[in-house]
Symmetry: C2
Subunit: 402 residues, 2 copies
């Protein structure tokens, strides 16, 4: 099988290593590797295959295009060109799938070729293939997941080593777990895109990532971590979605998770995906969400599926875009932190509106209350009352999931 690779960064190098490790067993020939600047790759293997000209890749009779550039442009154009030319596509590009999955899957169907993207969610964890193929007989009704290694690394460092957000981010950048511009990770975009891909496949409805409730981790501070410890919890950036009565609800936000929960066990660059199926019950997949070889291994598995002629329908991407609910309707608890506030008045409102509450801190500088309510609406309503009456200037809300 002849492949062309676009991009020769971390994942590209990892894929090349995995292909080489398995050379004796599997005949996958690297024909061309597209790079921006050949001089930057002088010490790498396959230097003679490097090209800066995309036509060079397409004019060499390849069976599969492996897109590892990332981002929307020019990836979208190259992938469309491949599919239209009846060349299979393997990609790790969650941005592209989340944004243009529908047209790409349609185009692949039309041309009777595959587009595969195991590495786009959960890095090295085999999760899309089990979800699509092994769980097809199930109606999936919920997903809980830690999908972003960068933020999980930062939150783990803040919790375990009491680092500030800024120091944890710096360490993540030094270790290569965070980009120079970390926005896409820390603001939750990356996790939202991945959750939308999972939810689309799980619920057989197209879930568009921008329709999710989205909140990043940039406001989490040392004090949140202290409260979390006091509550026997950790703080994780969790993507969760549900499918109930034909309605999808979905969010990506930092939440408190009890230490007894499997989500709390997943630290640093590890990811977890928990799905709940009507037949299979609760299933969890845990592993490295990023990394050169881990992601390379996932891309490689897609290549083998094409080589071995194994395919499965991913037509849920072509379904019409569903309405997405952003609010938790079930019973829920939340940590509320009020700054510059009239404490007694706030407690009075809370007492009137909530089922139950515990005051964690009413020191001079802030009031922290754990509230237990019948739904997130209830919590939001009482916060509205408190703000309307001018009892506080700012409030932070951190849901707890169980």
């Amino acid at each position: 099988m002849r492949i062309g690779i676009l991009g020769y960064g971390t994942v590209g190098s990892g894929l090349v290593d995995v292909i080489d490790n398995n050379k004796s067993k599997r005949d996958i020939e690297i024909v061309k590797i597209l790079v921006k600047d050949k001089s930057k790759h002088k010490d790498k293997k396959y230097f003679d295959k490097l090209t800066t000209n995309i036509d060079d890749v397409f004019n060499n009779n390849i069976d599969v295009l492996v897109e590892l550039i990332g981002g929307l442009n020019p990836s979208l154009e190259y992938i469309k060109r491949a599919l239209s030319s009846k060349i299979h596509v393997v990609t790790a590009n969650k941005d592209l799938l989340a944004e243009h999955g529908n047209e790409l899957v349609e185009l692949s169907n039309k041309n009777n070729v595959n587009i595969k993207f195991e590495a786009s969610v959960g890095g090295g964890i085999p999760v899309l293939k089990p979800l699509i193929e092994s769980l097809e007989g199930n109606s999936i009704d919920s997903i809980y997941a830690i999908l972003n290694g960068t933020t999980n690394f930062i939150l783990s460092k803040m919790y375990n080593e009491s680092l500030s957000y800024d120091d944890a981010l710096k360490q993540a950048q030094i270790l290569g777990f965070a980009e120079a511009n970390p926005d896409s990770d820390v603001l939750g975009y990356d996790a939202a895109r991945k959750l939308s891909i999972l939810s689309t496949l799980a619920y057989n409805n197209r879930v568009y990532w921008k329709d999710l409730y989205l909140e990043g981790i940039t406001d989490i501070d040392a004090k949140d971590m202290e409260y979390a410890k006091q509550l026997n919890c950790k703080i994780k950036l969790v993507g969760q979605s549900r499918y109930e009565d034909d309605v999808v609800s979905a969010s990506v936000r930092p939440v408190l998770v009890g230490n007894e929960s499997i989500l709390a066990m997943v630290d640093n660059e590890f990811n977890i995906v928990v799905v709940n199926g009507d037949s299979v019950g609760e299933l969890s997949f845990v592993g490295k969400g990023a990394g050169k070889l881990a992601t390379g291994s996932a891309v490689y598995s897609d290549l083998l599926d094409i080589l071995d002629n194994r395919s499965a329908s991913i037509n849920s991407f072509t379904k019409s875009r569903v309405k997405v609910n952003k609010i938790v309707k079930n019973k829920c608890s939340a940590l509320l932190r009020f700054k510059d506030c009239q404490k007694d008045e706030i407690i009075h409102v809370i007492k009137e509106c909530m089922q139950n509450y515990d005051i964690l801190n009413d020191d001079d500088d802030e009031l922290a209350i754990m509230v237990h309510a019948n739904s997130e609406y209830e919590i939001n309503n009482s916060l509205c009352v408190i703000k309307d009456k001018g009892y506080c200037v700012g409030v932070n809300k951190l849901l707890k999931i169980s």
Copy 2:
């Protein structure tokens, strides 16, 4: 696709339900169901498809035989007959795979049909397919797993509710988690068979289940649970295997696992499989290890693979049987409990032989010591010395894994 089902017990009924749930999407026609006694199934669906005559199944032009009788006979004969007649086989039968996997896979290759067995390991958890297909690019070097729901249920009850072994077993039997004759589960045979299947697929070498070190849970008592709690551990029946320098080592035995370990999170009827690949790192799969619909879902996924023409090589079953090491060569810790013993003399021997030790209990009735050694050999050697000198009548040893 026309299928014949052998056996209409828990898993068979579960499969039929999953097929029916997906009837609108997938055309799988149940042609015949073989049972021993039709009168026992009067209230079930598809009563008109029941037969007590195996020829009735084979003479109806089926594409797939689904074997859910269990045990070696007559399953082996029926499956061979199917494969020889170029009929695909799906089975949940770990006993058969562990014992006759080699000849069955050879026979399926010869006749160019599939034999698939996702449900044989880990119940509803998709683990064999990810291992065979998604991780093919990896060299797997170790597996840790809780593979038997019955024993995990019993050990969870003993730990969490301080039940005796006998009471926990009785409860498992009442709830349907244990058979009237629980030997195959509690003595570890079931877990050993599953571990041998996983190890065969992971290491590309045939690992025969009888070659594993095997120890059941029947000697675990309330006192063990107390010590475990004292050590901040749980006790789990863990199957573990390694592949190092072309040698496989493998065991199924009750062990102490630290509460911070992911294995400790897996309680009751849940199973976990942790594999370590050179590219992907540590991957964990957690889910229900048994149950009507969970297992039905796994069997159903095999049917879809056949229906969609997806196949993968499982030729490691046809490899020659490897030597299996039964001893832990790495550093290890163990809880030693000596009954009717000369305590001072034993402590003297331990002090001379071990790196390190902690006395947990030296009350009248027993001496309990946690020892830390360079290998299991070291521990066994000192136990030999102690027994040879007549310092004790009996000793229980419980390794700790980390």
